[in-house]
Symmetry: C2
Subunit: 347 residues, 2 copies
């Protein structure tokens, strides 16, 4: 019996491999696997469906992730996928597999977080499943949204000369994670058996912690774009790092890109933390995941209108495919962009 | 800090507890938590959404469950929920959390099974998530279907004097599970270290094994009812056992019921196996889960028409709530129906 290790394919290779035989047969199935959400047409508005699974020890560590935050984050990352289609999130289902280690209060905390995110974005919880697990906690959320057919933005619409835009700032969630991991290590090495209370060193780092523990889906950006009458040509939310997501857009659009390192928005706290950890802050912004900012492209002629908008940054432009997918460093050097997936967990 | 054990509430108590604060706000959210699927209205047809999570060691045992069968079963149980609303399944998302123990071929097997079930019921896979797990396998599937508003059947529409009907036969999947568990125990006690090939004793038991390993969603029954112009007043699929599901219908409809034990359809293999295990076959049919047959009620005046249909059995009738929810035994004795959930896993 042949055996191919999953690590050999990597995340995207595995997904492509598993889904390549899938064909859409129903007239109501407009778009299936391959974007942030599936598009279904039940006459009139189109229905957007997206789903994400989070498992303990892989996507979250309950040592420092309160369950309320986990609920908020689990909902937010799914809601973010609907926004990334330029849709409006409407419903959500929540499935949980739990071991006896968890109490009713724990689950209340989790649901409280889910409801908080849902309330913020006008989303209804319409179903789910709660079942038992012999080991850790697993969370699976499906979010459903709607959009007019002509408003939906896929990953494949970028064209040469389009401007590459990103909301907010990048690398913050990743630096927040590094900080939490460091304080956890300090706790286990020095305070685990101690009777002294442990005070993690979080002063002045609240912003990056919040970016990791309580990420926000950028519905405000979707609204801002709609109000300005701007429809992106391609869009994706940043869950796996800027580099990986930009490659998705280029690959699916059949284009290259030029990304200017100095234009990548970085928050002050992120930069300070990276310095303290002796890490290159741009590497963190390019490859660190979980920022849930929106990455999108708009036609060049919208330059002035997009520049006038709040919290949106121009970081490069789309090119012909022959020009490659390049990062232009501060010193003017061109380096090929590389993606990273979750394969490290399966190595 | 107060701590309530989950086992204290049980499955249904827990779900009720966790969802009681949920309010529906969008006009497109017609029906949320509380039935087999959520109903969404995006003009014209209504959209049905259902989701189920299965975890290793709780819902399936890979010792005797081939991954292809697991894929087929995972899809079938979700598709069954859409039929239980009198809807037509249309799309499905598949999320998997896997450990490095699994190979690409394993996942191909799983997907092959999912696709087989999807093909059979005309369902498109439109999304999902594949991620890693530090421990066992977890599967989360969301199925989306459609129905005309006036065709949808909820659990709460049963009225006194309605006939209680069930498709196929019951207890078979449960007896199949008992057989598999017995052969597994034999293998571990006598053959585990042996070099002799192990031949489980499955001759003549193929039907009950297939009911456990490859359950079928009863789309044929939904079609049969539609062709006959019959719309049930209430309907549910049998995943947790006849007793539990009938109580759901009665509770949500505000009625009682009278279920006649001798009318419960039992297959010959199920009866033989129960005899061999020294178990009461009716107890297996009432409390054994995973049959995925349809349980529904129809008005009394349809007696002749429903009796003429293939593979549908009349097993009792709905009563006033004051009459209670009663099982009438072969000897004419009346016993109150009791439900069982999955709480045993969390005890």
């Amino acid at each position: 019996m042949e055996r191919t290790e999953i690590s050999k394919l990597g995340e995207f290779g595995l997904i492509e491999h598993l889904t390549k035989e899938i064909r859409l047969n129903n007239s109501s199935s407009i778009y299936g696997v391959g974007d942030d959400a599936a598009v279904l047409d039940y006459s009139g508005k189109q229905v957007l469906v997206t789903t994400d699974m989070l498992t303990e020890g892989v996507h979250f560590d309950l040592t420092y992730m309160p369950l309320k935050h986990l609920g908020y984050k689990s909902a937010s990352v799914n809601i973010s996928d609907i926004y990334a289609m330029n849709g409006r999130p409407r419903q959500l289902t929540v499935s949980l597999a739990i071991s006896k280690r968890f109490s009713v209060e724990d689950l209340e905390d989790f649901y409280e977080g889910v409801l908080l995110a849902c309330d913020k974005h006008g989303v209804d919880i319409v179903g789910g499943d709660t079942t038992s697990s012999l080991t850790g906690l697993a969370v699976s959320i499906t979010c459903i949204g709607e959009a007019k057919k002509e408003d939906i933005v896929f990953r494949n619409g970028a064209r040469p000369n389009d401007l590459i835009c990103v909301s907010g700032n990048l690398g913050a969630a990743y630096m927040g994670l590094q900080l939490l991991e460091r304080e956890k290590a300090v706790f286990y090495s020095t305070h685990h058996d101690s009777k002294e209370p442990f005070s993690p060193d979080f002063a002045g780092r609240e912003y990056i912690l919040e970016r990791q523990l309580k990420p926000e889906a950028r519905g405000d950006i979707i609204k801002e774009l709609a109000d300005a009458g701007i429809r992106p040509t391609a869009m994706i939310d940043i869950s796996d790092g800027l580099s990986s997501e930009l490659i998705h857009i280029c690959r699916q659009s059949g284009t290259g890109c030029r990304l200017y390192q100095e234009r990548i928005p970085i928050d002050y706290q992120t930069a300070v933390m990276a310095e303290e950890f002796n890490m290159n802050v741009y590497t963190c912004a390019l490859n660190g995941g979980e920022d849930y900012e929106l990455l999108f492209t708009v036609p060049l002629e919208l330059h002035e209108r997009i520049s006038a908008l709040k919290d949106i940054h121009l970081i490069g432009h789309i090119t012909n495919p022959e020009s490659g997918r390049m990062l232009v460093t501060d010193s003017g050097q061109e380096i090929e962009l590389k993606a990273q997936g979750w394969q490290s967990h399966l190595d």
